[in-house]
């Protein structure tokens, strides 16, 4: 057994006084694509933001490459090689596409060059001078993913990257995730649509009420459909 890349143990998190995560525990091994599934409000985004240090009031243990990060500020966590692509995408309106793309600093060697990013997302290359928020929803999502590929981060946290996108764009994002996995990236993916998740992931963690309640290897997904329907209420 190799050492997990990310090891989360009994993670609790709060927004102000509201206690949102109640002891989240899971692992991600190097090179895996793992999803967090769960109903709206289950705590998937909060889990990602806690890993990233964006949610500051948190307790428990989050180890990245064996190193404890629970006490670190988010800028220091990013410097260890974790990158976050938020649900709302976070494209900056006062920056053009190129500036958005170059904004996240390179924290490690081994990130993609601009050519590599344009190889995945050719559309971006045509729009470098456009204002970031003038792009279509799909292009903004590509920009939001593309810009964190440059940084050399080993672990990517992608929060609902296909939300609200047309099927063809969704497929493109799915194919991109597969290519990133092939290139050795480790990915934690939040996804509402588990049929999409099944096409890209190795394992699935199911969250309910601020806890991880189940883990389903992708190979057993078909067999677990009944259970999943109950968890997700679909």
């Amino acid at each position: 057994m190799s050492e997990p890349l990310l090891r989360v143990r009994d993670l609790h998190a709060w927004y102000g006084e509201s206690h949102i995560l109640h002891g989240v525990t899971f692992d991600i091994d190097p090179g895996e694509v793992v999803t967090l599934l769960g109903r709206n409000g289950a705590g998937k985004t909060t889990t990602m933001k806690s890993i990233m240090g964006i949610v500051t009031r948190r307790r428990g243990s989050i180890q990245f490459q064996g190193r404890e990060t629970i006490g670190l500020p988010s800028n220091a966590i990013a410097r260890l090689g974790i990158a976050f692509c938020p649900e709302e995408r976070g494209i900056f309106a006062s920056l053009n596409v190129q500036e958005n793309l170059l904004l996240p600093p390179v924290v490690r060697e081994g990130g993609l060059g601009l050519d590599g990013i344009f190889g995945l997302f050719p559309n971006l290359k045509e729009r470098l001078r456009s204002q970031g928020t003038k792009l279509s929803g799909g292009e903004q999502q590509m920009l939001a993913i593309g810009r964190i590929l440059r940084t050399g981060a080993r672990l990517l946290l992608l929060d609902e990257p296909t939300e609200g996108l047309a099927p063809v764009v969704r497929e493109h994002i799915g194919a991109t995730i597969a290519r990133l996995k092939a290139q050795g990236f480790t990915i934690l993916l939040v996804e509402q649509n588990f049929r999409f998740a099944a096409t890209v992931a190795d394992r699935h963690y199911v969250m309910e009420y601020g806890r991880v309640v189940d883990m389903i290897p992708n190979a057993q997904l078909e067999a677990s459909m009944g259970k999943l329907h109950d968890y997700l209420g679909v």
Partner: protein, 289 residues
Amino acid sequence: MATQALFGQLLIGLINGAFYAMLSLGLSVIFGLLNIINFAHGAQYMMGAFVAYFLLSLTGLGYWWSLLLAPIVVGLFGIALERTMLKRLYHLDHLYGLLLTFGLALIIQGVFRNEFGSSGLPYAIPAQLTGGYNLGFMFLPAYRAWVVVFSLGVCLATWWVIERTKLGSYLRAATENPTLVRAFGINVPRMITLTYGFGVGLAGLAGVLAAPIYQVNPLMGADLIIVVFAVVVIGGMGSIMGSIVTGFALGVVEGFTKVFYPEASNTVIFVIMALVLLVRPTGLFGRAS
């Protein structure tokens, strides 16, 4: 109308405009990133002039050294304020920052007035910039020409750094979404501190430029800052070029008002502010958000 008087007022307008532009630029950058309306800006401008005065009287360092050192000294003072006080207010409403900096302005100005009275201390024009040029239609004092050109240069350089460089893209991005920029690995708290120091340093620099023109007076920033706030409201918070253009333009408008309708020269900016607020509350260059 004597063209002599017209050009004379145009020059005075440009000089005032240069100060409006430099001060509103700093206010605007600070507000954008810190969400704090820095009411101490006028006091910090005054401190710049006093630092120049002390450098000369205590150490013999003249104008050119002051131009370099006074912004650094005043900027460091700003950094100390930010580290010890302002940083505690970021999660609160704008109003708290305004009240704190307003209080600080009163304290700083009070202390200086206690020590130095309010009659003003003289500060000589540097030897290299005495005299002037006879342009035929008017006499252009060299020092005033220098102030206009130099502050325009400083404003444009600031604009260039913010709008065209990598460092500037961090600043713009952090102004929009500091949490995400920090989660990319950028030390946003340090950036906030340095930005406040920069904005305050810019006020200190304006103070040095002003010293030979207006003398060194504890209250020199108190009246000016009110006008500068009107300029910021007219230009719109958060637009760098907007602050610069509006600053110079309103100085000129004020100058011309002195020629054509002197009674209104002290109020014209506030009248314009009221009109802008009615028609375009986000300011001439402001982004609606």
